[in-house]
């Protein structure tokens, strides 16, 4: 067992080649070949039927929506769409599929030869990298195993296993890159940026909810190392990479580990490895030294897929603006930088800000509400910001009230507090809670007089020309009116009352 070599040192001696296999669970209502629902978290084995349980006599029929989705994915990744292709049976002995085979595609994937240009952030500024796409193919997801009887819950040492087939048969799209060479020390960041871009594209296409933590987007990272000028090395395939951060860490960890192995004069074993989020290291899984024979053959129960060129072009016309292009456009329109844009994207409020700006709200105000107050409330309630009971029109109305002087910032927050609590529209909340800037001079003057009487020394200071002392009185008045006064107006009235002018 050799120790890993620190990353920088590893990169001095070796060149990495990476390849990424990304699985995307489609967000269709039903499974790939039957009408069972696909919701996450249902009671075990309540979303199955004779087709996805592989019972005798059942016949699969492909989900039209899934076929449409994979073609749109292929087009978004600049692939050629096959004119004719078949599904195949991948046979294996493992109980995660009740049929003992997975319906997949073998030598006739529906989308081939694409590419994706990504921008990789580096210390020296952004770098453009083209990732070539080998294939995008259609298959079905497998069931979920729980291993029982061991101490670790893992398959090793388990006495038996329990299977839930709810997930078996959910449409799964596998996206495979060609080997990515020449990225050197950027390899981990390239892997991460690629998966992030794919995730954004899937979301923009509306084909999947791409939640890595729920497994609807999964990434396997292939890594090999070679000395400069040598042929490519033996690769490992790291699985269980469940976040963007893990993609980067897993590739880095594999580079460090393999460099240690090679530097110690040993050979890298071709195998599946598991990434551990907690320790950041990979451990060996199944050996792939002996290629498994899956005895692929064309699925006789499903007829070939032959998308017409007209349909493909129709689908091409539905492709959304590429997310990275859209972000750059909106950042320019709103006059914000990469950091501010990343904040909106990470908070999941970009669409909401865009809709709010479209409703007539100034970009700065729209950003302020969504990335501040609303993000905080969404986090507190553990909901998606889009599911909060506040609309772009509500924000537009509150901003109108602020502009007209009817509300100040503090009151506006109280209005949204009411709106978010389900108390109605902004106007209803204003009325019900009695929220309005106190602009009645006599009420304000009474409050000012009361404050002056309470702080006679401050009053004297102001009279003698120390205008900066006015803040204490203004503060007291704001407190007395529970924030419902316009602070600027209070100040002006106060100075007038005391017969001093603002210096």
């Amino acid at each position: 067992m050799t120790d890993p070599i620190p990353f920088d040192q590893a990169l001095q001696a070796f060149e990495p080649v990476i390849g990424l296999e990304v699985h995307v669970e489609l967000g269709t209502n039903t499974k790939m070949f039957c009408g069972c629902p696909t919701g996450f978290g249902a009671e075990p084995n309540t979303q199955t039927c004779p087709v996805c349980l592989g019972l005798p006599g059942s016949l699969p029929v492909a989900n039209a929506q899934a076929i449409e989705s994979i073609i749109r994915i292929g087009l978004a990744l600049n692939c050629d769409i096959a004119e004719w292709c078949r599904m195949s049976r991948k046979n294996y002995f493992y109980p995660d599929m009740p049929k003992d085979y997975q319906v997949s595609q073998y030598d006739e994937p529906i989308c081939v030869d694409g590419h994706l240009d990504i921008t990789v952030p580096t210390d020296d500024g952004p770098v453009e990298v083209r990732i070539d796409i080998e294939r995008v193919h259609m298959e079905e997801d497998t069931g979920k195993l729980t291993h029982a009887g061991g101490d670790t819950g893992r398959i090793h040492g388990a006495d038996y296993s329990l299977v839930d087939y709810n997930r078996a048969g959910i449409p799964l799209v596998e996206i495979v890159t060609k080997p990515v060479v020449g990225t050197g020390r950027l390899a981990p960041a390239v892997a991460r940026a690629y998966v992030a871009e794919l995730r954004d594209i899937m979301r923009a296409l509306g084909v999947s909810d791409v939640k890595m933590e729920e497994g609807s987007l999964r990434c396997d990272a292939n890594v090999s190392l070679n000395r400069p000028g040598d042929p490519w090395g033996t690769r490992s395939e790291t699985k269980n990479v469940n976040s963007l951060r893990s993609v980067e860490r897993a590739v880095r960890a594999e580079i460090e580990r393999q460099a240690g192995v090679l530097d110690g004069g040993e050979r890298v074993v071709q195998e599946t490895r598991h990434f551990h989020e907690d320790t950041g290291v990979t451990t060996p899984g199944r050996s792939k030294e002996h290629a498994e024979d899956y005895r692929y053959f064309p699925e006789p129960d499903l007829v070939p897929i032959a998308p017409s060129r007209e349909w493909v072009e129709e689908l091409r016309a539905t492709l959304p603006e590429r997310p990275s292009v859209r972000r750059a456009r909106l950042a320019a329109e709103w006059g914000i930088g990469d950091f501010e844009m990343a904040t909106l994207v990470n908070a999941g409020v970009l669409d909401l800000v865009e809709a709010t700006v479209a409703a007539g709200v100034a970009p700065d105000a729209a950003r302020k509400w969504w990335s501040g107050e609303f993000t905080r409330v969404a986090n507190e309630r553990d909901v998606d910001p889009a599911d909060l009971p506040v609309t772009p029109a509500d924000i537009g109305r509150v901003e109108e009230l602020i502009a007209s002087g009817a509300l100040n910032d503090k009151l506006a927050r109280q209005v949204f507090e009411g709106v978010l609590a389900g108390e109605g529209t902004p106007d209803e909340v204003v009325a019900a809670r009695g929220l309005a800037v106190v602009s009645d001079d006599s009420a304000l003057l009474a409050a000012i007089d009361a404050a002056l009487a309470e702080q006679p020394d401050v009053a004297e200071k102001i009279r003698s020309g120390k205008v900066q002392a006015a803040g204490a009185i203004v503060g007291a008045v704001m407190k007395a009116t529970r924030g419902q006064a316009d602070a600027g107006k209070v100040r002006a009235l106060l100075l007038e009352r005391l017969g001093v002018s603002d210096a």
Partner: protein, 98 residues
């Protein structure tokens, strides 16, 4: 000589969890023998220049709408399982002790 023995059919039946009596075993063994011999004859005449047929009917693009249909109840899904635990199919140990 037959392409499949009665013993092999009995073994297959056991793997498929089909309870066949002696008469049925004789019956299916004879039928399967005919099928296997027919397939063997096809492979004899299929030369290299004949592409394998995966689908005998020239049909493409058969799809269904993405509409949910009722699933089986959990009890129905598990009804034929030899072993069940916690609403799940219980299967024997997957990896042998090393």
């Amino acid at each position: 000589m037959s392409a499949i023995t009665r013993g092999e059919v009995a073994h297959l039946a056991r793997l498929a969890r089909l309870a066949l009596d002696d008469d049925e075993l004789d019956h299916y063994a004879a039928q399967l023998d005919v099928i296997l011999q027919s397939v063997a004859r096809v492979t004899e005449v299929a030369a290299d220049d004949i592409p394998p047929t995966s689908h005998p009917v020239p049909l493409v693009n058969v799809y269904r709408d993405d509409e949910v249909r009722p699933s089986l109840a959990q009890s129905e899904a598990l009804a034929a399982a030899p072993a069940v635990e916690d609403g799940r199919f219980r299967v024997p140990r997957i990896l042998d002790e090393e």
